[in-house]
Amino acid sequence: MAVKTYIEAIREALWQAMERDPGVFVLGEDVGRRGGVFRATAGLLERFGERRVVDTPLAESAIVGVAIGAAAYGLRPVAEIQFADFIYPATNQIVNEAAKIRYRSNGAWSVPLVIRAPYGGGVHGALYHSQSVEKAFTGHPGLRVVTPSNPYDAKGLLLAAIFSDDPVLFLEHKKLYRLAKGEVPEDFYTVPLDRARTVREGDDVTVIAYGLMVPYALEAAERLAREEGIEATVLDLVTLYPLDRAAIVEAARRTGKVLIVHEDNGEGGVGGEVAAVIAETALFDLDAPIRRLTGPDVPAMPYSPPLEAWFMPSVERIAAAMRELARF
């Protein structure tokens, strides 16, 4: 098995899906000749041609809206939003259309559509190239929102999303693109769209995270285990909507002490829902108040390095919060 980066895994998934099913095509801004501004679609135009690798006009609502029509016909479009920050013009098409088409037609029509969107910060992207947009798109039944934290999941989850008959918002953390490396099977495989994943086991404290915060949490956990003998369970949510409630509750029960970590703002973020699931289901198993460590409640990540660093949760801050919780 070869070691690949997160973005290579994504490219491989796109390639294999297009090989496998001639109904799969990609569209978006600069996905063709430029191969994507992050190079996720590099090489696809040369291999699959202009019909299946489509440079679109600069118009996000049309990208998603046109993809909805093509998907309803029976194709399997994979639309790229260049930066997640630019997804908002397409909100109506995503939440009022894609998410509701199966339900409103009583099952007659469906939208096998994937929307890929690079999100997240720590890349000197400032307010409009660093956003975590998940909170606006979770909570719309009919739409799935997932995000991989490593190359293995990136490939398998994207293949599952493409061959799912439901619309999936597939969030890719920009900072993981080249940072995250791992073994990725050559073969076609899928990772479930509705399952969280336990990525570390330990009995002292539970960390629930997703995206970039998963490797950060793992690093913090390893450090605490090595240096202080604190053993953490780390749960990678993988799926942000609908959540894998059973896995969340089990992870919380295991240690009774829960730290939820995300880069998105705290109030109104996905962590609130995770905390609520635990408070509804496993309240009496808790030995400490639920704790959230998140981005601050400011509109978005500032550009200047000290401000950006101030915004991003770090391994150090995660480790400190874990330590505090373990000692509670």
């Binding site: 001639p22 029509g69 409103r104």
Partner: protein, 364 residues
Amino acid sequence: MDHRAAGLTDAEAIRMYRTMLLARRLDERQWLLNRAGKLPFVISCQGHEAAQVGAGFALKPGVDFVLPYYRDLALVLALGVTSEAVMLAAFARADDPASGGRQMPNHFSDRRLRIFTQSSPTGTQIPHAVGFAWAARYTGEPFVAFVSFGDGTSNQGDFHEGLNFAGVFRLPVIAFVENNRYAISVPLERQIASPDVASRAQSYGMAGVKVDGRDPFAVYRVVREARERALAGEGGTLIEADVMRLTPHSSDDDDRTYRSREEVEALRQADPVARVRAYLLEQALLDAAALEALEAEVAAEVDRATAAAEAAPLPDPATAMRHVYAEAPERPGASTDRWGGAGGKGPEGWTEPAPAGGGTDGGR
């Protein structure tokens, strides 16, 4: 225009009139039922029938994809939607084929007829139509995508983005504006800054055509021509049909606050249903007796549809959680039905996707 000049037979012209009449009577019945407290909501096609029927007869039902909007009762009847289906939706019954009673009336959908499900936010269907047209290009299947909407809706961003996308790729789409000069209470002058909607076609490298929306035969001809151009790879057309809204915007509206009664009366004098009726008489396609028989036949059909729908069961709340996500196949093989309706099969060599690992796959 003369129906023969438009390429229509006498029988077709008569069928077009019958469809207009049926739409009008179904629509009127819904208002009666609304005033009687039996239907919470009605939205009308009255005054748009000629344009809609002209367009509907120019399309190929079950082949072309059609994306109508809430006024398009006459259009969908022309395509094959039944009176009973219309009334089942009006009464929000379980067997409403459009939505199983989930959506408001006149939110048409029929997968077999390739009438795509619609929502209420205006204009969202325009990019969808472009997506269907994209699929025609992609698969090589010969059909057009036809999408209709109102004049006010041509101000939405989705109109601009969708038609520009279609124009860049010269996709086979027909965008049909039913210009009734109002968006609820706001008159055309306050809606659009261009002299008309059709001239906006120029922004999208498309043909722009204006047509008298009271004349079903003229509309038939321009839509048929647009369809031919589209199928020949010559790109899309933006057609603007001048129509009139004879009713308030909907049963929730009261148009007396913003339209004079004289204005509405003047429109009534120009009623397209009456006009086509007069044409049939004048051309001796039907005589007075035949017209009366037609009226009776249509009234009976409306009665039957109303009675059947009213007697049909309401949806069971136990079904309300269904169809949020794909369900496990209920009938094996259902997932091979991937081609947007009855007609489509996909081009040679197409393979079915393998089941995904997520347990989220399945038929529909």
